[in-house]
């Protein structure tokens, strides 16, 4: 596969390769950096959201705790002189004597309500079931009071919290209660303070968890309070069923509900034992990331465009001389040796062009030299031919042939013509300069036969040639001047018949 890639890659032009390389060099670091940064940012954001939610919940818890502490202070009313007198006289059934204290208690309750506007009612229910509250006096059954069940097992100063419910006037309240006047027998009364649930709404709405995030309260798997405006139908109920949330006091988790991810952070309040649960839609928190992603996308696109443009420009700048050189070389390869590479860069391409120009100059010089040499060779050959085929020799031979024909010695004439033909064929040898010794011997034989006839057989000739040398090569017409000299300077002046011996043998290796 790797080889396949490189094979495929190798077929691309340098320009394409450079474009791919530039893009890769430009994009890979950015993409890697972007990917790592994005994930680190996302991770960090999740951490920050969780931390922020924890802080928010901590604040809600503190607010609730502070408020409940205030309410606990109000509970100290149970030690108040008027309250104590009221309790005693109420138990003894002294109607007349209790008037003063009843009025004082109502006034006190009312003052506290005026000071703390979240208070809806303050009530004291005695063990006999007689109750006094901001709305008057009434009768109830203490043992069926939800707060009673909790307080009866607790110590005197401990408060119990009753989750939101409807009070005597049908107002939505949650109640904080404390045991009052507990006797050795176990009888006790309850002082309870009803607080408008809007207080919970207020402390929930004071915080900000994205645009639609919200805080709600849970106890024992049931929603204690959830802000109506923030809660999607049933969302709080679904969240309270989460097993991790049920099984741990504090923590955070991400839960997907109806295809929406929610970051859920929770803490169990030490005083109320309610779980304070912060719900933040993840999408709202990561909206920033989406913007970042969008910005990143556009930056990448811009970078790609810039890299592409730069790549096109740079590859053009870098490869144009190469392409020009390639074109020039192609022209040169098509026999246009007059071409000149006009590339003035000082880089490797410029040096290559300069070398090319030098090479072309040398080729041109060599070509001129070759032409000149060939012309000279032709002249030489002509000269040699002229030297070889002396007109006198040819005329005499032709005269001899004519003479033979006149004498009807046709056979002899044919032999001489045949020998003359062989002589010329060997002299030309298709333009070859080097011939086999066999051919040179045949040439000399034809020459000697013609000369023997011309000189009226005034000499004989003898060839003593080793068979082993026939297939060796030699410069052609090397023997003819020697034989000619031996005829013209040796035999011709003899009074008797001469003999020309031609020896051929192999000497040494």
């Amino acid at each position: 596969m790797k080889d396949n890639f490189f094979k495929k890659f190798s077929i691309y032009s340098i320009r394409s390769k450079m474009t791919i390389c530039f893009l890769a060099l430009g994009l890979i670091p950015i993409l890697v950096f972007g990917f790592i940064s994005y994930h680190l940012y996302l991770l960090n954001l999740h951490k920050n959201v969780a931390n922020y939610s924890e802080q928010v919940i901590e604040r809600v818890d503190k607010n609730l705790e502070t408020y409940i502490s205030d309410i606990e202070n109000i509970m100290r009313l149970k030690s108040n002189y008027y309250f104590q007198q009221y309790s005693k006289l109420n138990e003894t059934g002294d109607i007349e004597g209790n008037r003063k204290y009843i009025v004082r208690i109502w006034e006190t309750f009312d003052s506290l309500k005026q000071m703390k506007t979240d208070l809806v009612d303050i009530r004291y229910i005695s063990s006999s079931g007689s109750a006094i509250s901001c709305y008057g006096r009434y009768w109830g059954d203490l043992t069926t009071e939800p707060l009673y069940g909790e307080l009866v097992t607790k110590k005197n100063d401990v408060v119990a919290i009753q989750p939101p419910h409807l009070n005597i006037l049908n107002k939505k309240v949650f109640s904080i209660g404390q045991a009052v006047n507990r006797t050795a027998k176990g009888d006790m009364g309850i002082m309870a303070i009803d607080i408008d649930v809007n207080f919970l709404k207020k402390i929930c709405s004071d915080i900000k968890l994205g645009d639609t995030g919200f805080v709600f309260f849970e106890k024992d798997g049931k929603v204690v309070f959830t802000p109506e405006s923030s809660d999607k139908p049933g969302l709080s109920n679904i969240i309270t069923q989460n097993t991790k949330l049920i099984n741990s006091k504090n923590g955070n988790l991400i839960e997907s509900i109806n295809n929406t991810n929610y970051i859920i952070t929770y803490k169990t309040s030490d005083i109320t034992r309610w779980k304070i649960i912060g719900v933040t839609p993840e999408a709202e928190m990561t909206r920033e990331v989406s913007t970042l992603r969008e910005v990143f996308f556009w930056i990448i696109t811009l970078i790609i465009i810039i890299i592409l443009l730069l790549t096109i420009y740079l590859t053009s700048v870098l490869t144009n001389p190469m392409r020009k050189l390639r074109s020039i070389m192609k022209q040169a390869s098509e026999n246009d040796l007059s071409i000149y590479a006009d590339i003035r860069t000082r880089d490797e391409i410029g040096q290559l062009a300069s070398s090319f120009n030098k090479m072309m100059n040398q080729i041109r010089e060599l070509m001129d030299k070759v032409k000149d040499d060939q012309q000279k060779i032709r002249v030489m050959e002509m000269k040699a031919m002229q030297e070889l085929i002396k007109p006198h020799f040819v005329y005499n031979t032709l005269d001899s042939i004519i003479g033979l024909l006149e004498q009807n010695r046709n056979e002899d004439a044919i032999d001489i013509v045949d020998s003359l033909g062989k002589f010329f064929r060997t002299s030309l040898s298709h333009g070859r300069e080097v011939v086999f010794i066999r051919e040179e011997i045949d040439h000399i034989r034809s020459y000697l036969m013609i000369q023997q006839f011309r000189f009226s057989y005034k000499f004989d000739y003898l060839f003593e040639i080793d068979d082993g040398i026939y297939n060796f090569k030699t410069v052609k017409l090397i023997l003819q001047p020697l034989v000619e000299n031996s005829i013209y300077h040796g035999i011709r002046n003899l009074d008797k018949k001469g003999l020309i011996v031609i020896n051929g043998y192999l000497k040494d290796d």
Partner: protein, 352 residues
């Protein structure tokens, strides 16, 4: 048709009528459509306040803050004990019709046996009284009536008669001071514009005075909203303006619940010949009157209101006949000649 056959047929017709009325109610309640936008938090009512075994009668005053009602409460409680009835006392801290309505609503939910109410606004309270009656609760009014409602009876002062008595007292005082021939500037104090009992007193007073030849020019009406804490201040503030009245009439004793020493301007006005007439003869009012802050008082008997309300409502709950739809608790007349004597018969409040 013989007589027996006629009664048999009548019984049959009644039976069918009862069935026709009762059967639609047996179909079970139609569940309300769940509100999609409502949160999942469910609010349960503390419905355990009233046990079912005892008879419970709730008395609803105009306000808890007004001590004049306490006599009625205490007497009601006493009578309740005698009868074995649990008497409750529930009302707004300050006079507030809406809270009073909410309280009656809560009593309906709690299914008390009887309600005795002093109506702040007779018209506004009427629907909830009718609702309680429809729910099978015996309802009566005390101190302030809602005559157009379906309440069983009204137990209290004949408020118009109280007004008439105040009017007569004015005529007497004016004549005694030689002011009966001239136009007298009148400053009125009352709780609000709606209270039936107070309006009756006012009407009785004005009509009697005018019929008696007294020409009255009402310079201002002060509404104290049944609040004893602000009534004295309102009066003192007004009396210190240049718009000084000749006569001061109050449909209740609110301004004198404050110590008489806190009304020096008014005291001086009285010494200068101002005529002061008020309804109510409870301890602080009589005490103030004795110190010269009032010329005549017409008292109500809140003890009787408490007593007769509970007794008659108990009768009604038990299915016995009520003597009348108006149970008059009588009037107590006071003037400078008997203020001290009346005061001797009263108990010091020690609450304000």
């Amino acid at each position: 048709m013989n007589k027996n056959s006629f009664f048999k047929k009548t019984k049959f017709v009644y039976l069918i009528l009862v069935l026709l009325i009762a059967l639609p109610g047996c179909g079970g309640s139609i569940p309300e459509k769940s509100q999609v936008t409502e949160p999942s938090t469910s609010y349960e009512e503390n419905s355990n306040i009233t046990p079912n075994k005892d008879i419970t009668i709730a008395m609803v005053p105009k306000s808890l803050d007004n001590p004049v009602f306490l006599d009625a409460l205490e007497q009601g409680e006493r009578i309740g004990r005698e009868l074995g009835v649990k008497v409750e006392w529930l009302g707004p801290m300050q006079s507030d019709t809406n809270v009073q309505i909410a309280i009656v609503e809560s009593l309906i939910r709690r299914k008390v046996d009887g309600i005795v109410i002093s109506c702040i606004d007779p018209a506004k309270i009427k629907p909830v009284i009718n609702k309680a009656v429809q729910a099978g609760i015996k309802v009566a009014t005390f101190d302030s009536d809602s005559p157009d409602s379906n309440r069983l009876f009204y137990c209290g002062t004949d408020n118009y008669a109280a007004g008439v008595a105040c009017g007569k007292a004015l005529i007497k005082e004016a004549k005694a001071r030689g002011k009966d021939k001239k136009v007298l500037n009148l400053l009125i104090m009352t709780a609000d514009k709606e209270s039936n009992n107070l309006n009756k007193r006012l009407n009785g007073f004005l009509e009697t005075a005018r019929e008696g030849g007294i020409q009255l020019n009402i310079i201002d009406t002060l509404y104290c909203n049944d609040d004893v804490n602000i009534a004295g201040d309102m009066l003192e503030k007004h009396i210190r303006t240049e718009d000084t009245p000749d006569v001061f009439f109050s449909t209740g004793g609110w301004p004198f619940v404050s110590p008489p020493e806190s009304l020096p301007g008014f005291h001086a006005w009285c010494k200068d010949g101002g005529i002061s007439i008020l309804v109510d003869t409870y301890y602080p009012v009589l005490e103030a009157a004795e110190k010269g802050l009032a010329d005549s008082l017409v008292g109500q008997n809140f003890n009787k209101m408490g007593e007769l309300s509970i007794k008659n409502l108990y009768k009604a709950i038990k299915g016995e006949k009520i003597p009348s739809s108006f149970i008059n608790t009588g009037l107590e007349l006071g003037d400078k000649s008997n203020f001290a004597k009346l005061l001797e018969g009263k108990q010091r409040w020690e609450i304000k």
